[in-house]
Symmetry: C2
Subunit: 437 residues, 2 copies
């Protein structure tokens, strides 16, 4: 049996342990929801104050140049690029994931419409993140495509000579299952389809290799594993072979070749910069940069390879401890055991009572989250034609190797054990004494 | 002749004078560029720090509910509504002006396509803000409409039975000329066309009456006269008669009727909330609220009527002083003298040397901005088919009654006089002694 001492020993040997101090977490909290909103980098408060009081308050309009505001989308994009297997100059941080998905899916359909006009389908996974499906649904309606949703084990089989675009999320938000990007992209290419990848739950969580996979388009989120703050701008990548080919539909002035000429006709900027649209929220961009700088610091201690190794060790440990210590309480495992198919989260299933368990854990300072399955199904019976979902609810726990340690995992499972056993809360002592160093 | 003493006397009697202390401006600066980036509300720094350290850092994911992050678009929209003649519940703060324009112009074309399928034109002003024209150009291409650009005095004449949508910016960014919203909207309605108004240079600068004008759609900017901070989220209004009629194309999860059900099918929220798309940049939203709160404070001292009265007095004074004190230096006036046709800025024209004059003023702490006309024309000769523009450059000065006083105007013109006369810089003393109180 694994003990807390074993976990503390692993923390002591963890090469990423020093990164923990780059983040501020509330006392007494074990934060396992960084897959929903990443923790606050210590640097963020001072940096945002500087942006407000100095850059805005003192610099005023001059800061567009003097503080480099205009270049933030490209500057931050260049910090994201190495995390996703892209090159400098190929990524911009901007807008929201949903809006960026609209841009790239729209471009992909425009390319498909020109190169393969008889292809009529966008294939995606039924359990893809809903907003991705909403955007795809709206675009498919508008452009006369059929949105074809399949289960995750039927993706390959669904690729055919009528497939225009394969649009997938790399790591599933609900189960933590990771798709094989290289293999599925190769299959899509073999079928003559373009690929659009949503990296919302993979950028900063698992190494991503967009170029190696020969992917076509990608988008991702700034406020989950990239720790950019609530609603931080998202990012967008387009393979250079496509970037200059079309206007994206949200053709705003920040994507213009010469935005300050104020000409009435649109001339798109070369490369990825044409995927910008309107003026970006600078204060939120500023906070995002602090999140990205933690990954710059991580480079010195092994970078994304070390992050991935620790992520798998943390999730392996969590699964093992839950199975050792929480057996007999109706918990199942939604996340794949196989490393190659696992993101950086572990999702437990339970037919009833998952919501109350998650709430009880939060009350004890162990923050994960609840995703409905069974409860949605019960509602859906009243609304025919609605969501087909799992008949189990989900307890979701995200593991962010930059600030989560092995003792955190042990203590989180101990709290889960106590909640399931209906025990009084034995407050863990580790927060002050051990893990937070 | 008007004297500095006269101006100081007017400041002393100004009912809005007390609002000046709600803003922080750099010492020695007369800021006449609030039409490009509004000044920093004093409250913004502490509020954003709270959002970063408490709401994000301590509250983490819980703050979506406990700090009210989810309701910010509607909450801020309700603070914008009275400034533009809309009702509570009809406005959301979200995304950028360009993206919001895409949403509403797209919806307008969808309505036109259904109600008046033979109408083929979107009419706009040739000198409309370029990003509005870019968005319209992209949408018109996509939907098979003709974007018909006319000079501002030909708008009415251009309305015909082939006009689907009249898309205009209320106050022109380059000249400060204000269009007659009520009249043009009535003419458009009489011609059977829908109206889309961009309020980027009017919301918070002049009273706007969307309902009274019977307008159909409007968008506007958060970081100009609303003082929301660099790249602050924009806003969008849709008349209730249209709001529930269509999906807007950027159908993301924040616009879903039940975003937390995570159903794979899109069901738009009722009303204006369906014009939301993805997760919003909360830190930038938080700063925007501080800017809007200055207008809440202004309500107690006369609200937008008092703001408008002072704006006209400031711009009248500026025009009169420039004509009294800066004559013989080749300056013209691009902004209408007629009150009903003037926004809250004054634009001077000059055939040559405007850029250097603006730079010299900025060096002396008088911040306005330069907009090319003649210089663009010179470039355009090398690029046939490009912009048709004015053959004069523009010196642009924006007047924000919340924080600009009459003595500021006097001192700004005095600096302009010195620059034009090639005089040594006589540093004004007012900043410390008089105006900044």
């Amino acid at each position: 049996m694994t003990t807390l001492q074993d976990c503390l020993a692993r923390d002591a040997q963890d090469p990423l342990r020093g990164l923990r101090k780059l983040f501020k977490l509330p006392e007494g909290v074990i934060y396992l929801d960084g897959n929903s909103l990443g923790a606050m980098p210590v640097a963020a408060a001072a940096r945002v104050v500087q942006a407000v009081t100095q850059e805005w308050g003192q610099g005023l309009i001059r800061s567009w140049n003097s503080a480099g505001w205009f270049e933030l989308p490209q500057k931050l994009g260049n910090k994201i690029a190495p995390l996703i297997g892209a090159e400098a100059g190929e990524v911009v941080a901007t807008d929201s994931t949903s809006i960026n998905l609209y841009k790239v899916l729209s471009a992909a359909l425009q390319i498909a419409g020109q190169d393969a006009p008889k292809r009529s389908k966008v294939v995606s996974e039924r359990s893809n993140f809903p907003t991705d499906l909403y955007i795809a649904e709206a675009l498919c309606r508008q452009r006369g495509y059929d949105l074809h949703l399949v289960d995750s084990d039927r993706i390959e089989a669904a690729l055919a000579d009528d497939t225009a675009v394969l649009m997938l999320t790399h790591v599933n938000y609900r189960t933590g299952a990771m798709l094989d990007m290289a293999h599925l992209t190769a299959q899509a290419r073999a079928a003559g389809a373009l690929t659009v990848w949503d990296l919302a739950h993979s950028a900063g969580a698992v190494p991503v290799h967009l170029h190696a996979a020969k992917a076509d388009f990608a988008v991702g989120c700034g406020y989950k594993y990239l720790n950019g703050g609530p609603g931080a701008p998202a990012f967008v990548w387009v393979h250079p072979r496509h970037a200059d080919r079309f206007w994206q539909p949200l053709a705003g002035w920040w994507g213009h070749a010469a935005p300050f000429e104020f000409t009435p006709d649109y001339r798109p900027a070369p490369g990825i910069s044409r995927y910008l649209c309107g003026t970006q929220p600078i204060l939120s961009m500023t906070a995002l940069e602090c999140g990205l700088d933690a990954f710059v610091a991580a480079e010195a201690v092994g970078g994304m390879q070390a992050v991935r190794a620790k992520s798998l060790a943390l999730t392996d440990l969590f699964i093992a401890l839950v199975e050792e210590r929480c057996a007999g309480h109706g918990l199942g495992l939604a996340t794949p055991r196989e490393h190659g198919r696992r993101g950086s989260q572990v999702c437990l299933t339970r037919k009833h009572g998952a919501y109350a368990i998650v709430q009880a854990l939060i009350a004890r300072g162990v923050i994960g989250d609840f995703r409905a399955g069974a409860s949605i199904l019960r509602q859906a019976q009243d609304r025919p034609g609605s969501a087909r979902t799992d008949d189990h609810d989900i307890l979701r726990f995200g593991f962010t190797p930059l600030y989560t340690g092995f003792a955190d995992v042990w203590n989180a499972v101990e709290q889960l054990r106590q909640v399931l056993a209906g025990s009084e809360w034995e407050r863990p002592e580790f927060n002050q004494k051990h893990a937070v160093t």
